[in-house]
């Protein structure tokens, strides 16, 4: 299933947040979105996921979701959003319970195995490290077999080492099964490691500033300093201007 964003614009009261965003998200690709703070990245993602309605424009699903898909557009949140009163397995089970599946336990066991959490199935979130919590959230997302994963800064609550490890995990998961994702991040190193395509948004109101394609296969990339430098060049001016605006306002 591909995704197409057509002329999407949005405003909160008098604040114009997004201006005429058009994007294609082809199946099996990871599209990273970067842009200065407050430019509307999270808002865009909520609209793609159907949690909010844009003032203008639309988000189109093209083609059918894969067979066995329980929730085509599935979020992975920055703050994990795990239910603290449910165990690891219980948190995964939560999103399967409404579907009347024959054998949810098999799915739970499979996704916990893929995220290396099998030994922690009965642990409560308070017993887990941040990296593990995010792996639980990823396992939960995988359990519904999504067509597109919507990831809003999934690693930014984690320390640098954990982030590295989880990036490796994500790449490994993608190599095993080419999932589609929109991945919002502030971190250019993450963007060049994980993105097939990097969309740079301007400061608020967010508009597409540039789209950078990275043909190199995932998992076989270096730091790609030239790409990072190019992206940073695009973002620096926007970020500075955005910062000045906040100070003025």
């Amino acid at each position: 299933m591909d995704l197409r964003i057509e002329g999407l614009s949005h405003r909160y009261g008098d604040t114009e947040v997004l201006r005429d965003i058009s994007l294609e998200i082809p199946a099996g690709r990871i599209v990273c979105i970067v842009g200065p703070s407050g430019c509307g990245k999270s808002t865009l993602l909520r609209m793609v996921g159907g949690l909010e309605q844009p003032h203008a424009g639309q988000v189109l699903q093209m083609g059918a979701p894969p067979p066995g898909c329980l929730n085509p557009l599935t979020f992975v949140f920055q703050d994990f959003a795990l239910l603290p009163w449910r165990s690891v397995a219980g948190n995964v089970s939560l999103v399967l319970e409404d579907h009347g599946l024959d054998d949810p336990d098999a799915i739970i066991a499979d996704v916990l195995e893929r995220t290396r959490l099998t030994d922690f199935a009965q642990a409560l979130p308070k017993q887990l490290s941040g990296g593990m919590k995010q792996r639980v959230a990823i396992a939960r997302a995988l359990a519904v077999n999504p067509a597109v994963m919507l990831m809003d800064e999934p690693l930014s609550a984690l320390d640098a080492q954990t982030r590295e490890l989880l990036m490796d995990d994500l790449i490994e998961l993608w190599q095993r099964e080419q999932f589609t994702a929109i991945y919002v991040t502030h971190n250019l190193a993450e963007a060049v490691r994980l993105g097939h395509q990097i969309v740079v948004l301007s400061r608020r109101p967010g508009a597409v500033r540039e789209i950078v394609d990275i043909p190199d296969p995932l998992g076989a990339r270096g730091a790609m300093e030239d790409v990072q430098a190019h992206l940073w060049g695009l973002m620096r001016d926007e970020a500075r201007a955005a910062d000045a605006e906040l100070l003025d306002g």
């Binding site: 979020f75 449910r86 319970e97 308070k126 519904v144």
Partner: protein, 274 residues
């Protein structure tokens, strides 16, 4: 040590462990401390009365109260009073708590219901419910009905307020998460909203049930043949301090039992809290 002067200090190099400054601010005591306080107070009163430095008119002798208690137990009168009281407390408290949790959840979930009912709840919250007993007698009869209604009504208002406050405080990101996975509305309420509100609901229940005990006694004082309230009223009108205190002790025990029952539920249900 105090005389170590600055010039000398670098040479002597006193080695000592870093003093511990943490700890505290996390009350977790010995459960026997509570028992000890009771025992100490009772012992002081007993000794004071026997030795005469507490006037015999002010308080009954604790050992006499104990004896009254024993008689109550032996004659079976204890159960005649305790059983009606406890069943009124349980029936009235349960009705009020369930209704309060239900209405409180609706107020927490629906804007229109909130707009309509919050002012009403605010209006009836400060009314001393005991003042409404005659009304309940007219509505539900002089028997058990009016007592259930009074106790239920008294438990209801604090439960409503505690519940909708707790529902308001449920982490919105968790509800968003539920919606983003396409959970059904009822699943979100049952699996996310209510468990998330549980800490607030249980602390509301503590207050609600304490009020229920107060109203239980009040209702029984105003019209009941049996029950702890009736027993205390009768003892009081005869200035029989031993029996009065025996009744008061039963009420305190009921209060402590309720509170520890809620504590037990909290420990089981809220184990997930960090």
């Amino acid at each position: 040590m105090a005389e170590v002067n600055r010039a000398e200090a670098p040479r002597t190099k006193v080695t000592q462990p870093v003093p511990f400054r943490g700890g505290g601010f996390r009350p977790r005591g010995n459960r026997w401390a509570g028992v000890l306080v009771f025992v100490a107070i009772i012992a002081v009163v007993e000794i004071g009365l026997r030795q005469g430095w507490i006037s015999a008119l002010t308080l009954p002798l604790p050992s006499d109260v104990l004896d009254t208690f024993r008689q109550l137990y032996v004659t079976g009168a204890l159960w005649d009073h305790l059983f009606p009281s406890v069943s009124r407390f349980l029936v009235g408290g349960a009705l009020g708590a369930l209704a309060g949790i239900g209405i409180g959840t609706l107020i927490g979930l629906f804007g229109l219901i909130r707009a309509g009912l919050v002012p009403l709840v605010a209006a009836i919250f400060p009314v001393p419910k005991i003042a409404l007993l005659p009304l309940f007698v007219i509505w539900f009869g002089i028997g058990e009905g009016s007592k259930y209604a009074l106790i239920a009504f008294g438990t209801f208002t604090p439960m409503v307020v505690a519940t909708y406050g707790a529902v308001d405080n449920v982490d919105r990101t968790l509800i968003r998460m539920g919606q983003s996975f396409g959970l059904r509305w009822w699943s979100i309420v049952r699996k996310i909203v209510l468990p998330g509100a549980m800490p607030g609901i249980l602390s509301g229940l503590r207050i609600g049930l304490a009020i229920a005990i107060i109203l239980l006694v009040a209702a029984e004082m105003l019209g009941a043949e049996y029950g702890i309230g009736a027993y205390i009223l009768e003892a009081g009108s005869l200035y029989d301090l031993e029996r009065l205190f025996a009744g008061v002790v039963i009420l305190s025990v009921l209060g402590v039992a309720t509170s520890s029952a809620i504590g037990w539920v909290e420990r089981r249900v809220l184990r997930w809290r960090a």
